[in-house]
């Protein structure tokens, strides 16, 4: 039938378009990261190689190639991300539990708050914290950056743990209490194992948010604390190849997370992780 | 003239055949019920007629036109959904007017027809309500009105009463029946509720495992079930397996393996044949004393009895067979008690084993 062919054709076109729009920019990154020389206006680079990757990963040291080892910045990033994730989760688990068992009437307001950290302008907050951080000697230090990251990630962390706890019917908890478990025991033996997948999502998400945090680190950390995003920013002005390498390194955890959330975990948590 | 005709319609889902070479003709102006247990293919059949599902094989006709592959929006049907599916963002008026607007009906006519159909379902003046402001029964009637306002060729109803409470459901049966008669519209009604089917159908099509088991008027289906499945599904039946021992001039004698003997109408029975006797609860008569004049009189033992308010539901044992019956209230029955019962031979239903 004519209409069927039309439909197949249209769907094919749509797929190509979506494919190009999504993967065009991504492939641009990949090509740049392995391009040694790429002259305008050729479609593909004249010379490709892993020189920038090797240099960035510290496997070689060649002064002709404008890239430094990313390991220092990587180490800083990991230190900051691990510390702030740990601190955020310590606060987020009790807070999330309390919020999950607490009934609030204004649904619209809650929904808005729920998705607000994505949209709220954080930048004026950081700017106004800068003088205080300078006074306390936190500006340009790792603890200062960690503090900022906690500030950024805490809302995300609390909301995902809240939805993780909310997904557990209260009856399960009450059943445990009715057979004689203490509140503490119920929390450890019933709630925590049931909420574990949600808490895992929350932890990983907070970790990635911290790892890729830009704005706060930019104001509070620079020029002394160089995390990976900062290194990416400072090199993006002069060196497309090196910046692309870092961008890909930063992209990998997010992609892994996407696979994790789509394959392993239930979709309810998606609401909380969008930003 | 046949209004809806199914010719060898088949629909498979993977390895499961939901509808299996179904042939069915619905007459102009009748209401036909597709009746069967869940999973028998009745809803799939209805959705094929509506065009929501395209069958794998077979053809579907509305009037003279073949519609097998026509999309639902071009079929000129009215469909009433189990959950009503009233669009929540539209008022009653908007729900009813939507289809007319799509047909570019003049505004004045739309208003006129909506008013008419609302008075038909006794919901006049409810135009500006939203569906959530209506009771379940009212929503049901709006759904019916939405299907009727377009004056479709066929009205299709998919278990429309199953979300209502028992009392309302009974009322609505008559209302739908009345409405269908009044409008003379051809209707196909899907249900798993046999009482509903008996009350409101001109004819009933009993389906099982995707096949048509029996097609007939409610009386035919009830009094002459085609097989054990139909006898068990429509009305309560107790089953007794027996073999024909002698065939006389006007009657046959049957015997069960444990030696209980029945006299039955002989129609078409042959000696040695295995049959199943289906006994309806209302065909079990209780006698105060044994009778010499009557055939088929037995002594049965009460197994258990349950008080139902207007009757007593009683299970009896006859040999190794269980019989269900209903007695008027006021009698006290205790397990183990012996009763004389009479099974009138002309009322025995014989079905294939």
């Amino acid at each position: 039938m004519g209409t069927k062919w039309q439909r197949v054709l249209l769907e094919g076109l749509l797929l190509c378009l979506v494919f190009f729009l999504v993967f065009g920019p991504i492939s641009s990154l990949v090509i740049w990261s392995i391009a040694i020389r790429w002259y305008w206006p050729h479609v593909l680079p004249q010379e490709i190689g892993l020189a920038y990757w090797k240099q960035a990963l510290g496997l070689q040291r060649d002064w002709a190639i404008a890239a430094v080892s990313i390991w220092d910045a990587f180490g800083t990033s990991i230190l900051v991300a691990v510390t702030s994730t740990a601190l955020v989760m310590v606060m987020a688990i009790p807070a999330g539990y309390a919020l999950a068992r607490f009934r609030v009437p204004l649904k619209a307001l809650i929904l808005l708050l729920f998705l607000m950290p994505k949209a709220f302008p954080q930048q004026p907050i950081f700017v106004n914290l800068l003088p205080a951080f300078t006074r306390w000697g936190l500006a340009g230090t790792v603890p200062g950056v960690i503090l900022i990251h906690i500030l950024v990630c805490l809302i995300f962390g609390v909301w995902i743990t809240t939805s993780a706890f909310k997904a557990i019917p209260q009856e399960l908890e009450e059943a445990a209490r009715s057979v004689g478990a203490t509140r503490w025991c119920t929390f450890w033996k019933v709630l925590l194992p049931l909420a574990a997948p949600g808490l895992l999502v929350s932890t990983v998400f907070v970790f990635i948010t911290s790892l890729t945090e830009f704005t706060g680190t930019f104001f509070i950390g620079l020029p002394f604390v160089t995390t990976l995003p900062m290194l990416l920013y400072s090199s993006s002005g002069y060196n497309m190849q090196f910046a692309s390498v870092i961008a890909i390194v930063l992209l990998i955890p997010s992609l892994l997370f996407m696979v994790l959330i789509q394959k392993v975990l239930r979709p309810e948590y998606m609401g909380g992780i969008i930003r | 003239m046949p209004e809806v005709k199914l010719d060898g319609v088949t629909k498979r889902y993977g390895k499961v055949t939901a509808v299996d070479h179904l042939n069915l003709t619905v007459r102009d102006g009748e209401i036909l019920t597709l009746l069967g247990p869940s999973g028998c293919g009745k809803t799939t059949t209805l959705r094929c007629i509506a065009g929501f599902i395209i069958p794998d094989e077979g053809r579907i006709f509305l009037g003279k036109e073949e519609v097998t592959r026509l999309p639902p929006e071009k079929r000129d049907i009215g469909f009433v959904f189990q959950n009503y599916a009233l669009w929540p963002h539209m008022t009653v008026f908007q729900n009813l007017a939507f289809g007319l607007q799509l047909r570019h009906t003049p505004r004045e006519e739309i208003r006129q027809r909506v008013r008419e159909v609302l008075s038909l379902v006794r919901l006049s003046g409810m135009e500006d309500r939203y569906p959530r402001q209506l009771s379940g029964g009212q929503q049901q009637r709006v759904a019916l009105a939405r299907a009727l306002v377009l004056r479709p060729r066929v009205l299709l109803l998919d278990e429309p009463l199953s979300n209502l409470d028992a009392k309302l459901r009974e009322e609505m049966r008559f209302e739908i029946r009345e409405l269908q008669r009044q409008l003379g519209i051809t209707a196909i009604y899907v249900t798993h509720d046999q009482a509903e089917a008996l009350v409101l159908s001109d004819r009933i099509a009993v389906l099982n495992e995707g096949r048509l088991v029996q097609l007939g008027s409610p009386e035919e289906i009830y009094q002459r079930p085609a097989n054990k499945f139909v006898a068990g599904f429509i009305g309560l039946s107790s089953f007794i397996k027996a073999r024909v021992v002698t065939v006389g001039a006007d009657a046959a004698i049957l015997e069960t393996e444990d030696g209980v003997r029945f006299k039955a109408p002989k129609n078409g029975l042959a000696k040695g044949q295995e049959v199943v006797l289906a006994i309806r609860p209302e065909h079990v008569e209780i006698l105060s004393a044994p009778s010499e004049v009557l055939d088929n009189v037995f002594q049965a033992e009460v197994m258990r009895a349950a008080y139902l308010g207007n009757s007593i539901d009683c299970r009896l044992r006859l040999g190794k067979w269980e019989l269900r019956t209903q007695l008027p209230p006021g009698r006290v029955l205790s397990p183990g008690e012996k009763l004389w019962i009479h099974l009138p031979s002309e009322k025995l239903i014989l079905v294939k084993a």
Binding site: V22, K118, Q123, F126, V127, N128, L151, M240 | E73
Partner: protein, 256 residues
């Protein structure tokens, strides 16, 4: 921790250098950056509008079609949700640059002049970057709303004669109006408050308010004017939030 800097920024924005109450910062902010405030709003409106239209179309398509292509489009379009803005920014820098991949492809297809490739580090490139990141978000939110709608509502519409575009425009999308409102408000606010993307993509002026705040602080150490600009951001986001809240309250009373 959250309230203190927030309050501080509001107080600071109303304080002049001598510490007394004044509107001088707002005066300065508007006269220096008035154009950029407009620019920010322009980008936000344009980006939100296009992402919303694309997102609604994609979500409706994925909801109604059950083809393999639709599922593929669905999973591909998810990608944008997960990539952080800093990576997206770098990606756009390399993709949209004068000698970047987009211009390379267009030049080779003969669509742009080799000697004058498209200059995209301006409102167009920025908007493209935002659309790239936000369309998947809108698609996801809208789709999760559409997925909840029972097929019977669609079938009911079909049975009274609705074609696909009627089903989408008059049944599906109106049924999830509140969800769409959330998506639109959030997208708008995100675009207005994002710093990373414009900072790394837009060359020169005009640029967004967020970039101006950074300039004001890093080059001039001027927290007062930066705070005043920040208050503008709060205002924009606040207005959108109130608009959304009023809508949903109205929906709750009259709608469903």
């Amino acid at each position: 921790m959250y309230v203190y800097p927030f309050a501080l920024s509001i107080i600071r924005s109303f304080t002049d250098e001598s510490g007394s109450l004044s509107l001088v910062n707002y005066h300065k902010a508007v006269s220096l950056y008035g154009r950029d405030i407009l620019f920010s709003i322009q980008v936000a409106i344009l980006g939100t509008l296009i992402s919303t239209i694309l997102g609604l179309a994609l979500a409706a398509y994925i909801r109604l079609s059950n083809s393999r292509v639709a599922r593929l489009v669905n999973s591909i379009s998810r990608l944008g949700i997960f990539l952080p803005y800093v990576v997206v920014a770098q990606m756009m820098r390399s993709f949209l640059a004068p000698h970047g991949l987009l211009n390379v492809l267009l030049a080779n297809m003969g669509l742009v002049d080799i000697d004058a490739p498209l200059r995209l580090f301006n409102i167009w490139g920025l908007t493209f970057g935002f659309i790239w990141k936000e369309t998947p978000f809108i698609t996801f939110i809208v789709l999760s709303g559409l997925q909840v709608i029972d097929d019977a509502y669609v079938e009911a519409a079909r049975s009274v004669g609705a074609k696909t575009h009627h089903v989408v425009l008059r049944i599906l999308l109106p049924m999830i109006k509140p969800t769409i409102a959330i998506a639109v408000v959030l997208t708008f606010c995100t675009i207005v408050s994002t710093f990373t993307l414009p900072y790394m993509i837009v060359a020169g002026t005009p640029t967004t308010v967020t970039v101006d705040i950074a300039h004001r602080v890093t080059y001039f150490g001027d927290y007062q004017v930066a705070s005043a600009l920040g208050v503008f951001l709060y205002l924009i986001v606040g207005v959108m939030a109130i608009y959304y809240l009023r809508r949903t309250v109205r929906e709750e009373v009259y709608g469903y």
